[in-house]
C-alpha cells in the first residue's frame, strides 16, 4: 500500500480545524509527505448576503477584508505549529465557494489525502442545512480523514519530536 505523498488540510479558524491541522502535521511528519494548508474566504456566501440585501456593499467589503486578515492569521498560526515540529507547510488562501475551492485544489495539486476537522455536532435533517466542510468531504476525489478527539490529537502532536 502506498503512503500519502501530498496532504491537504482545510483550516477555517475553528477549533476542530486546528485539531485537523495538528493531525495533518503529524501525518506529514510520519510519511514525509508534502503538506498544504488551505483557507477559503467564502466570497460566495457574501455575494448571497448582498443579493439577499442582508449586507450593504460597504459592509460586504469590510467583511471580506476581515476574512482576508483571518486567513493570514490562521495560516500563519498553522505554519508556526508545523515549523515547531520541523514540518514545512505550503499555505494557500483562496476566495470563492469553500467546497469547490477545496476540490479544485485537490485536483490541481494531485492531493491524495484531505484532512478536515470534526463536523458540526448537532445536525439538522433539513435539506437546507449543510456545511461546506461536509460538502467537501462528500465531493473530494481523494481519501478524507476526519480528525476527532482534540485531546488525543494534541498529545500526538506534542509527542512529535
Amino acid at each position: 500500500m502506498s503512503t500519502p505523498k501530498k496532504i491537504l488540510v482545510y483550516v477555517d479558524g475553528t477549533e476542530p480545524s486546528i485539531t485537523a491541522a495538528q493531525y495533518a502535521i503529524c501525518l506529514a511528519s510520519f510519511y514525509r509527505a508534502d503538506l498544504i494548508a488551505l483557507y477559503v474566504v467564502n466570497t460566495k456566501a457574501m455575494e448571497d448576503l448582498l443579493k439577499a440585501r442582508i449586507f450593504l456593499q460597504d459592509e460586504q467589503m469590510e467583511y471580506e477584508h476581515d476574512m482576508e486578515a483571518d486567513a493570514q492569521r490562521y495560516l500563519n498560526y498553522v505554519n508556526e505549529m508545523a515549523l515547531k515540529k520541523g514540518v514545512t507547510i505550503v499555505p494557500q488562501s483562496r476566495r470563492g465557494s469553500v467546497h469547490k475551492e477545496i476540490v479544485d485544489l485537490i485536483n490541481e495539486e494531485e492531493v491524495d489525502l484531505l484532512v478536515i476537522g470534526e463536523l458540526a455536532r448537532i445536525r439538522s435533517r433539513r435539506d437546507e442545512f449543510y456545511d461546506e466542510t461536509e460538502r467537501a468531504m462528500r465531493m473530494a476525489p481523494c481519501s478524507v480523514l476526519i480528525a476527532k478527539d482534540e485531546d488525543k490529537v494534541w498529545q500526538m502532536y506534542e509527542s512529535l519530536v
Binding site: 477555517d12 479558524g13 475553528t14 474566504v41 467564502n42 456566501a45 457574501m46 448571497d48 448576503l49 439577499a52 440585501r53 442582508i54 449586507f55 450593504l56 459592509e59 467583511y63 476581515d66 476574512m67 483571518d70 492569521r73 458540526a120 455536532r121 448537532i122 445536525r123 439538522s124 435533517r125 433539513r126 437546507e128 442545512f129 456545511d131 461546506e132
Partner: protein
Amino acid sequence: MAFIDLVQEKIVRIPLVSTDKAGVLRELVQILKDAGEIEDYDAVFTAIREREEKLSTGLESGIAVPHGKSAAVSKLKLALGIAPQGIDFASIDGQPSRLFFMLVAPPNQSGPHVEALAEIVKLVQSKAFCRALTGARDAREVVELIRGE
C-alpha cells in the same frame, strides 16, 4: 460554529412582547443577557443599533436579520425572536416582520458570522417553514423545527 449549533431554547423568545422596532432590538439583546450569553448589554445593543441605522435588516416575507460586530462577545451569538402578530421593522417590502434572527459576532470572527447569516438566508427560503416557526407554541417547538426533529 454552525448556525444549527447556536439554536437553543434559552435564546428563543415566542412571542416577543415589543410592539415597535426599537423595542424588538432591545428585547433581542436582553434575551442574550438573560441567557447568560453576554455581559455588556449596552455594547451589544449599540453595535446592533448602529448597523440598523445604516439600513433596515428587515427583508421580505416577514424576516429580519439584525446583526453586528462587537468586542463584547468572544464568539458568535444568536437570539431568535418571533412576533406572530407582526411588527413594523421598516422592511424592504413594507410588510410587518415576524421572525427575527439576531447575530452578534466578535470583530475577529467574520467567517463564522458570514456563514451563519448565509445559513439563515437558506433556512427562510421555505415559506412553509417560516409559517411553521411563526405558529410554534413555544421555544422548544421552535428548536425542534429548526433541527428538523
